[in-house]
């Protein structure tokens, strides 16, 4: 049983915790209000500086934290207090939030620096930094919050930032549509999350992690309510982390500037779903049925997105589908209760995917905004640093040792293997495709001859230092990042897993088997071997097709058969459009025309019409002729007498 201490409020610690998110918020306010007035240098100083300080503070916090101890909560103020519902504005500092803090501020800072170079020519420079800072703020709230509602604040906040940044160039309608789509699809997930929170409150009488997890163990395993809670929360995760069926926004989100894709749509925000499941691991452990659902959806997403990735021509789209696929992996791992492996993959993925995106950004920057790989080729000479760093990223994501991705993916697949061999098979298949499309990307972009216009060729240049240094940093991290979690065959000491262990203590007690390592070394080696072999085979196939044969993907609209279906992303967007968007739009028009103006309004007006009609009817009696008046009176008299005497 993990005991989270709620120590007597330490004001210094509370201030420190508050400062970490507050600094980016201040940065946001300064840059936001000063938008267009402040000089760019000041803007980038404020933007990067605030995140850097947060990063440094996080490091301080990290080192001052006693590893192995349970976390602590610092309450800033009481936010909402209604009846028994109490939602403090409080931060929880423990292993999970600390690493996430480092990740968010660290990678965030790197990307901020990169942006200073990447966006230097954009008129919305200040706005961009403001939004980035706001994003960091929201993300920090998400990971630091000590209760589900705090997490929800950050959850929606990052959604907003995602919206703002995807639609950053808001003159372009498709970008705006993409932004809107992202926000709305996220909201669908958010609804699930929200309902999950309500159910948590109803079940446990609180929304604070400490109380909820404390009481969770008292509820029988796989009880309906736990299953419902976890499923609802998972709906939220599906939206935020782009799982089937709510994934279509993420590829579209590539409309945003590339650093945004790197930061939000690869490294940090999209992993919020995984963070949430990890945070609630005890609840999920109590709900094996949900875990099964999580695993299946994760696996399906991993495979499905990878197939789409195979034939995309937009460099960022490939990476986007790759991200979706990798997120699927992480959920797969969560589904088999390989919590720390999943988190391991979150970290390594953050490094190499951010690297890949930034690299892609560097390419796009060099190509003056061109994103279609069919117009690229042979860029490795012009962009040596970008090429090398991206190659490292590719190796990492494909699972080639000793790069980071190898360790995390291997560990993850090993757990899946233990859980279910078929799932593992599909996992390996996805891994194969990953390797293929990544190398395809590399080969199409950096090898062969240049296929762009003359003008672009002239303009080709390596990016400035503010962009390449982040690339290098991330490349280093992608290279060595894996060593924080060496597999048991190499080392009994899994640094990350050991560090995180207290988080999963409660889960371990509920389901000890899932945490034990029963695999013998032979199997382990075999699995590693298969992974590496598959990745290499895929790379070689890609090499043969795109370098040796120099084939270039066909032009738009000439695809046929399955290729065409896959290229068009299985027409999922069109499907959603037909079965959801269009019906709602018609419903809107229909309700307005037929129910509002055709039914309810006429009913109300009908009261008036009947009255007026009755009035006009009365006019017939009021004919002006004395005779008829008298007649009616007499009829009235007779009626009264008859009714009173004869019909009595």
């Amino acid at each position: 049983m993990q005991q989270i201490q709620v120590p007597e409020n330490n004001p210094a610690m509370a201030l420190l915790c508050l400062l970490i998110p507050l600094l980016p918020l201040i940065g946001f306010v300064i840059n936001g209000l000063g938008n267009g007035k402040l000089p760019k240098s000041l803007v980038s100083l404020v933007g990067c500086g605030s995140v850097l300080i947060s990063f440094l503070l996080s490091i301080y916090l990290f080192f001052s934290f006693e590893s192995g101890s349970a976390g602590y909560v610092t309450e800033v103020f009481n936010w909402i207090q209604v009846g028994t519902l109490s939602i403090p504005f409080a931060f929880q500092i423990d292993q999970l939030s600390l690493i996430m803090l480092l990740l968010v501020t660290g990678v965030g800072f790197v990307i901020h620096v990169y942006s200073a170079g990447y966006m230097s020519h954009d008129p919305g420079f200040g706005k961009f930094f403001a939004f980035l800072n706001l994003f960091i703020f929201s993300m920090l709230l998400l990971v630091m919050g000590a209760n589900y509602v705090m997490m929800f604040i950050g959850w929606e906040g990052v959604g907003l930032c995602s919206y703002l940044l995807i639609g950053f160039w808001n003159k372009v309608t498709p970008y705006n549509n993409a932004a809107k789509k992202a926000f709305i699809m996220n909201r669908i997930g958010d609804l699930g999350f929200l309902l999950g929170i309500f159910l948590i409150f109803m079940t446990f009488g609180s929304v604070g992690y400490a109380e909820v997890f404390g009481k969770a163990a008292t509820i029988p395993v796989s009880s309906e309510v736990i299953t419902a809670i976890t499923l609802l929360l998972f709906v939220g995760a599906m939206g935020k982390s782009a799982q089937i069926p709510l994934y279509t926004w993420l590829p579209d989100a590539m409309a945003g500037p590339t650093p945004v894709s790197a930061l939000i749509h690869a490294a940090t925000m999209v992993t919020a779903g995984i963070y949430m499941v990890l945070r609630s691991n005890i609840l999920y452990t109590m709900a094996p049925e949900t875990l099964e659902v999580v695993a299946i959806i994760g696996l399906a997403t991993a495979v499905f997105a990878a197939t789409i990735g195979l034939f995309q021509n937009d460099i960022k789209k490939v990476l986007a589908y790759s991200t979706v696929s990798q997120l699927g992996y992480m959920f797969l791992a969560l589904g088999v209760m390989a919590y720390s492996s999943s988190f391991f993959h979150v970290l390594t993925h953050a490094f190499f995917k951010a690297l890949l995106f930034l690299g892609a950004g560097s390419v796009i920057h060099a190509m003056s905004g061109e994103q279609d790989m069919r117009s690229m080729g042979g860029l490795r000479k012009a962009l040596p640093i970008t090429f090398i760093t991206m190659l490292i990223g590719t190796l990492a994501i494909s699972g080639i040792p000793p790069f980071a991705g190898f360790f995390s993916k291997d560990e993850l697949l090993a757990h899946v293997y233990e859980h279910n061999k078929i799932m593992w098979g599909f996992g390996v298949l996805a891994s194969f495709m990953t390797s293929f499309y990544m190398f395809r990307l590399m080969f199409l972009t950096f090898f062969g001859s240049f296929r762009g216009t003359e003008e672009q060729r002239h303009h080709l240049h390596e990016s400035p230092a503010s962009m390449t240094i982040p690339l290098i940093i991330l490349a280093v991290l992608s290279t060595i990042g894996g060593f924080m979690g060496l597999p048991p065959v190499f080392s009994e000491n899994h640094t990350l897993a050991n560090y995180l262990a207290p988080l999963f203590e409660a889960s371990r007690q509920v389901n000890p088997e899932a945490f034990g390592h029963h695999m013998d070394h032979a199997t382990e080696f075999m699995l590693m071997g298969i992974s590496v072999a598959v990745a290499l085979v895929a790379a070689i196939i890609a090499y043969v097709i795109y370098v040796s044969k120099k084939s270039v993907p066909a032009a738009e609209g000439t695809e046929t058969g399955i290729h065409k279906v896959v290229y068009n992303k299985y027409y999922i967007d069109e499907l959603y459009d037909t079965i959801i968007v269009k019906p709602i739009m018609s419903l809107s028009t229909g309700l307005y025309r037929f129910v509002e103006k055709g039914l309810i309004d006429p009913l109300v007006n009908g009261f008036g019409k009947v009255t007026m009609g009755g009035g006009r009817g009365l006019r017939v009696l009021q004919s002006g002729a004395i005779g008829s008046y008298l007649l009616t009176m007499v009829v009235g008299i007779i009626l009264i007498l008859v009714l009173n005497f004869i019909l009595r």
Binding site: T611, M612, L618, I626, M633
Partner: protein
């Protein structure tokens, strides 16, 4: 009692004043007369019931209060008759005298103790009104109104008399307390003759107050009659009729309530519906007011049907509020139609801009008639509904409020015309006396709406 005598005397004096060369003295004289009567009337206040004329009239608080309301009505109407006060008008003195005499009839109607007095009161009031309805001799509309009123009125009198005769036949008396005790000492049920008589009296009185289905004369006569007398009809005549009716219900036939309740309720509902719905389709403001007076008769009938001790106060309050608002409405109508030559809603277009005072007092009057809070009409209806709900007739009140919603439609049409349409006509000249009176009426209406406690428990 004094007031009846004084009114008769003043009526005669007024006729003599008509011999003077100038008509200008007449209106002030009548105002003074009425003021005196109004004051003298209160001598009998709280003196307990006093009988006169061989027990044929009884003066009590009830009759004093209603007499006061009626005298007040006439006093309020008078200033708007200024356009008649010209030296060319040869009959002015007669008109004023007729009004004074008719007031005698009205007071008799509220203080009768004998059926004969009821009959005489009705006739004194009615015959004077027949003449006044036709006072525009050259105008066919006025002629038609007079003839319709006359023929139908005397027809209704015939019915009423037949009823009285039958009751006399059954009970052997015209005295209302004797009739009351007679009807309460008939445990085995009443003679059919008595019952027919009661219904016929009911019908006769319903005609006088313009309740459906005996209301047909009302719109036509109101429309054709010169506006000033229409105002008189719809206030004094209606008040007198309803008070007389109340006396019938409360003191003449209290034992018969169960018997005639269904009839009365049916008439009430019919009156409410016809009055309100009929008013909604009118294009003439004056004719709308005629229908609205039918509608208000319906509301007053609700109070009658509730047969409890709240109703007399409710009726008195209602009569007062209704009178004040109606006089204001007719007053403004008179001023507007005199100068714009129209009586339709269009005549009021843009009045809010050209004559804010007229528009404001009209609005207050309309709000009061539509029973919007802050005006007397609101509490009037409130007390009426209260009486009915206390008696358990919630569904009747529901009918009434549905019809009230309709009434807002037609009352506010004129408000819309005044404030929300563009002006067509010139500014209307208003003499100071009328203007003063409009202000008084508005203040009075609002006073009743803000401090209803002053008026609601007089009896």
């Amino acid at each position: 009692m004094t007031s009846i005598i004084l009114l008769s005397v003043f009526g005669i004096i007024n006729l003599f004043l008509g011999f003077l060369k100038s008509n200008r003295i007449l209106m002030p004289a009548v105002v003074v007369f009425l003021a005196i009567v109004f004051g003298v009337n209160f001598i009998d206040w709280n003196q307990g019931p006093q009988t006169h004329f061989n027990n044929m009239l009884v003066i009590d608080n009830f009759s004093v209060a209603f007499a006061a309301v009626m005298v007040l009505s006439m006093l309020l109407i008078l200033p708007f008759s200024r356009s008649y006060v010209t030296d060319e008008n040869p009959h002015l003195a007669e008109f004023y005298s007729l009004l004074l005499f008719s007031l005698v009839g009205a007071i008799m109607m509220v203080s009768y103790e004998n059926m004969l007095m009821l009959f005489l009161g009705i006739e004194i009031l009615s015959i004077a009104m027949y003449v006044l309805a036709g006072s525009h001799k050259k105008q066919l509309r006025s002629n038609e109104a007079a003839l319709k009123y006359l023929l139908m009125g005397s027809f209704a009198t015939g019915i009423l008399l037949f009823g009285i005769a039958l009751i006399y036949g059954a009970s052997g008396t015209f005295n209302i307390s004797d009739i009351a005790s007679f009807s309460s000492t008939q445990p085995a049920g009443l003679l059919p003759m008595m019952e027919v008589g009661v219904l016929m009296i009911l019908i006769g009185v319903c005609f006088k107050i313009g309740a459906a289905p005996f209301h047909f004369w009302t719109p036509d006569v109101y429309e054709g009659t010169p506006t000033i007398f229409t105002a008189y009809m719809s206030t004094v005549v209606k008040t007198a009729g309803i008070a007389a009716f109340y006396k019938l219900v409360w003191s003449v036939f209290p034992g018969l309530n169960e018997f005639w309740y269904p009839t009365l309720v049916a008439i009430t509902v019919l009156t409410l519906v016809i009055g309100n719905v009929g008013a909604a389709v009118q294009n003439s403001f004056k004719r709308m007011l005629a229908y609205s007076s039918i509608a208000h008769a319906g509301y007053l009938l609700i109070a009658l049907t509730s047969f409890n001790d709240r109703s007399e106060n409710a009726i008195l309050f209602y009569a007062l509020a209704y009178t004040v608002a109606t006089v204001a409405a007719f007053g403004v109508l008179k001023l507007v139609s005199d100068q714009r030559g129209e009586e339709g809603y269009e005549a009021f277009n843009g009045l809010g801009k050209t004559n804010p005072l007229l528009a404001f007092s009209m609005t207050v009057a309309m709000c009061s008639l539509a029973s919007i809070p802050l005006t007397g009409g609101f509490f009037a209806k409130f007390f009426i509904f209260g009486a009915a709900i206390d008696a358990g007739a919630v569904w009747l009140v529901v009918v009434a409020i549905l019809m009230s919603a309709v009434s807002i439609y037609y009352y506010f049409r004129v408000v819309i015309a005044m404030y929300m349409r563009d002006a067509e006509g010139e500014r209307i000249a208003v003499d100071p006396f009328a203007a003063f009176m409009l202000i008084v009426l508005s203040i009075f209406t609002i006073l009743m709406g803000v401090a209803p406690g002053l008026f609601n428990n007089l009896l």
